[in-house]
């Protein structure tokens, strides 16, 4: 997938765009619906996300992130902006910090495919409940109460389980820069 983004950046490859669209647009839509957007809004934003992939392909650095991660951040940013516009407000750079280069030395850069495989393996090592906690934390604005409700446990217990699940995840991913 990363090669497809690079192909867009290098030669404006429309075939590559079509493949990316076919894979990611339906997933971005599903992802955004999961985070609470209405189907038609999620569809608009999914198209907008892929348009941004086309326009910003030259900013993609395959040594730093997998295409899926990069596309995830684009969809996330567009959805934050959309929610803020809905509240009738301007846009704000939530993570202008991304603009600053991190000092990653050559040997700490894992190729993105390997990186993605590591993250996938780490998620697979979590217990079912821990994986559910990570997903819920991703999609809910009030994750603790939602987790408590979905797992049928008290709020205090939910908080400590979130801590445990994330500290396990941190251990599994510690050496990923």
């Amino acid at each position: 997938m990363s090669a497809l983004v690079v192909a867009i950046a290098r030669t404006g490859d429309r075939e590559a765009f079509a493949l990316l669209f076919r894979h990611f647009a339906p997933r971005v839509k599903a992802f955004l619906m999961r985070s609470g957007l209405a189907a038609n809004t999620a569809e608009e934003l999914a198209q907008e996300t892929l348009l941004t992939v086309w326009r910003k392909a030259s900013y993609f650095d395959p040594t730093r992130a997998a295409a899926s991660t990069w596309i995830f951040t684009i969809a996330r940013n567009l959805s934050i902006d959309m929610k803020r516009r809905e509240r009738n407000m301007g846009t704000v750079d939530l993570d202008a910090v991304d603009e600053e280069a991190d000092e990653t030395s050559g040997e700490t850069i894992l190729m993105s495919a390997e990186r993605e495989a590591r993250v996938r393996a780490a998620l697979a090592k979590l217990s079912e409940e821990q994986a559910a906690i990570v997903r819920l934390s991703f999609f809910q604005e009030k994750p603790h109460s939602q987790i408590a409700q979905e797992l049928g446990i008290p709020l205090g217990t939910a908080k400590s389980r979130v801590r445990l699940a994330l500290s396990r995840l941190r251990t599994l991913l510690e050496d990923l820069k």
Binding site: A9, R10, G12, A18, F24, A25, P26, R27, V28, K29, F31, R34, A39, E43, A46, Q47, L50, L51, T52, R55, A57, S58, Y59, F60, D61, A65, A66, S68, T69, W70, F72, T73, I74, R76, N77, I80, R87, M89, G90, T91, V92, D93, L94, D95, A96, V97, D98, E99, E100, A101, E116, V119, V134, S137, F138, P143, L166, S167, R170, L176
Partner: protein, 238 residues
């Protein structure tokens, strides 16, 4: 600047996921500028987001979705070598340019006295900050405007040496970022760059170091309640 106190993993994950409310997100953003350790953690969580996205069960698109997107593609993007652009910056770049005008336009925390060499963190540059009102002996606070989230409560505090923030509790989590100086509460001592999270049930009165003014930012989730008379005085404020 050496940072000792960091946002919790769940806070960083929610930031990476884009579901942390705007007030706390502003403080995390400020913390990240000084903390490569947490920047790496956010990148890891973004990779988790990528994997979750990839694994999502696809949702059917409208029949003409691809055609409509193609029609909007326009010419091939400017070609050239793949730039050193960073993960996630693509979508934000436009907004940086289209964002609110620079610090010159924004009224700046009238009454704030910054010690020599101290500047407000960059993410505050485009934010309107209300006048610094005296709220307790040696304590001034001004509201940082976060219009994109009307429910967010973010305040800039200026607290004199040896002074304490009046005792308070809060319904949700309180996030404090130290800009300069330092303070202590029963959980420890905090200095510049530190981001401290306190649960709602914590009833505390942080005390500033004797050797200098402390300037910090606080974001509250949920209603803030001061004890005693100050609670009455501040009610219209918070």
């Amino acid at each position: 600047m050496s940072v000792h106190s960091h946002p919790g993993d769940d806070t960083l994950l929610r930031y990476a996921a884009g579901v942390l409310p705007a007030g706390p997100a502003l403080l995390v953003e400020i913390h990240l500028q000084a903390c490569p350790h947490c920047r790496a953690a956010v990148r890891r969580f973004e990779a988790v987001g990528g994997v979750l996205l990839d694994a999502a069960e696809p949702a059917a698109l409208a029949g003409d979705a691809f055609a409509r997107t193609l029609a909007r593609l326009g010419p091939a993007p400017v070609s050239g070598p793949v730039s050193g652009g960073l993960t996630g910056s693509g979508a934000r770049r436009d907004h940086l340019e289209a964002g609110p005008s620079g610090s010159a336009a924004a009224p700046r925390a009238e009454g704030l006295v910054l010690p020599d060499g101290v500047r407000l963190p960059r993410p505050l540059a485009s934010r309107r900050i209300g006048a610094m009102m005296p709220v307790a002996p040696g304590v001034r606070m001004g509201r940082v405007h976060v219009p994109e989230d009307g429910q967010s409560n973010v305040f800039l505090f200026q607290i004199g040496p040896g002074r304490a923030i009046p005792r308070h509790t809060h319904a949700g989590t309180e996030y404090t970022h130290v800009i300069c100086g330092g303070f202590s509460d029963p959980s420890g001592h905090y200095g510049p760059g530190d981001l401290v999270e306190a649960d709602g049930d914590v009833d505390h009165s942080p005390r500033v170091d004797d050797d200098g003014t402390c300037i910090c930012l606080a974001a509250f989730e949920g209603r803030l309640r001061f004890h005693g008379l100050l609670g009455v005085v501040l009610r219209p404020f918070i």
